[in-house]
Amino acid sequence: MTGTREAEVSQAFVTLASSLVNGYDVVDLLDELTADCARLLDVSSAGLLLADGRGVLHVMAASSEQTRQLEVFQLQRADGPCLDCYHDGAQVAVADLDAELERWPQFVPAARAVGFRSVHALPMRLRDNVLGALGLFGTTVGALNDEDLALGQALADVASVALVQDKAAGDSTVVNEQLQTALTSRVVLEQAKGVLAQLGGLDMTHAFAVLRGYARDNGVRLTDVAQAVVDRSLPARRLLQHAAERHTSRA
């Protein structure tokens, strides 16, 4: 491990751990997790699937739009390593996707089409519950080394704890409620991105950056900002203005 990477890994854990102590935003946390994985591990992107109270999986976060689409594809076709990982509650390692065409006849061509050659899926676990799966996508053939796998699983485990942290988290109803809240937050976030995209003529990636920038600079939770934008109690124009000023002051 190089010095820089070591420092980054420590930083990632500090951020995740501090979310356990301070008030935190689930959507922000999981977005951070996928970004951390893409940056720290030998993969090009990461995506996260989370199950709701009914056991139905949803795409909760992704480090790139392509990965999001691929995760959606798995859910639609009920075919792919992340689904198997969730159902079995165990890691799935695919060093070379081409070798697994028979196992996932729909997923493999779709993943190859967007340039991925290898996939590793890690379960999000909390005691006996499997909450979802973290997918790590690589553009080259080859297995992740043990160190990367362990690090990825450790990040996923800390995020799992943060996701359902509650005094009564042993109660499956409470766990379900918290996951449900997280999934609803995701819906509101996507809607808020849409509002900003339409009003500011932005693409969704930039709309998200505007939203997040405003939340961070004002010390408010991402989900709260998104909800206020969707409710129209916070004018979307104010966020766009903030982003423009931010941009000017940095230029």
Binding site: G53, H58, V59, S172, T184, Q191, V230, D231, R232
Partner: protein, 253 residues
């Protein structure tokens, strides 16, 4: 007893072929009685603080029980909508249960001892609740609770139809599997396009989704297809007549 997957299929199938939103909601409620070990079920509707009422029910008694909440202005269903999470009352007769004195008395008089209220959401906004009634006190089983949540999800579809009652829905539009329709509304691009419609028309999220769905139907597209077209700006929203409110705020000034 059927597993969750079987429940899902049966609940979805129950609404198939109904020729109106009201009939679909009634069928869903009757399916809850058949499948979830409860004696009655109803769906109530609350929209923007103006419209409210009982929408579907498994029978006369359930409808009356549901309406008590609106008569008295209190009840687990109103609380479930307000807080966005289930309100599960395993024993209404328990003397420590004092949350809804008027509602409680009226319901107990009808011989009902347990009420389970599950919120119904459209485009992340809570617009109603599914109420399950049981004569016997005691908690719902894990399976029935999960099944109830599935039913509450499905209940969003007839409520959406109700909100857009000016649209002439073809029976075929809801004759298929309800889950397929629901899944098509639960896509990221649909949320994003809903947000874009909110910005273009200044309406609330549920209303924006109604307009999106109505236009998709009129254009013989799925909600997802239309949403992609909107997100990729192949269908511009500025001055789009189907949005109903031309001249609404456009780009940044």
């Amino acid at each position: 007893m059927k597993g969750l997957e079987g429940l899902r299929d049966d609940l979805g199938a129950a609404m198939a072929g109904a020729d109106s939103a009201l009939a679909a909601a009634d069928r869903l409620c009757r399916a809850c009685v058949d499948l979830l070990e409860v004696d009655g079920a109803s769906v109530s509707f609350m929209h923007q603080g103006t419209t409210r009422g009982t929408f579907g029910s498994s029978g006369e008694l359930s409808r009356r029980l549901d309406e008590f909440q609106f008569t008295f202005g209190e009840g687990p269903c109103l609380d479930a909508v307000a807080q966005g999470s289930p309100v599960l009352v395993a024993d209404l007769g328990d003397p420590v249960e004092q949350r809804w004195p008027a509602f409680r008395g009226a319901v107990l008089d009808e011989g009902v001892s347990a009420v389970f209220a599950l919120p119904v959401a459209v485009a992340s906004s809570r617009i109603g609740a599914l109420d399950l009634f049981r004569n016997q006190s005691g908690p719902l089983t894990e399976r029935s609770l999960r099944g109830g949540r599935l039913a509450a999800d499905l209940a969003a579809l007839p409520l959406l139809d109700l909100m857009s009652s000016d649209v002439d829905w073809d029976a075929a539009a809801r004759g298929d599997d309800g889950w397929e329709q629901l899944a098509s509304l639960e896509r990221v691009e649909v949320y994003q396009a809903t947000g874009m419609i909110i910005a273009a028309t200044d309406v609330a999220a549920p209303e924006a989704l109604v307009r999106l769905r109505a236009h998709a139907f009129a254009q013989e597209m799925t909600a997802s297809e239309l949403s992609w077209a909107i997100v990729e700006r192949r269908i511009p929203l500025a001055r789009a007549e189907w949005l109903g409110r031309p001249g609404a705020p456009a780009g940044p000034s």
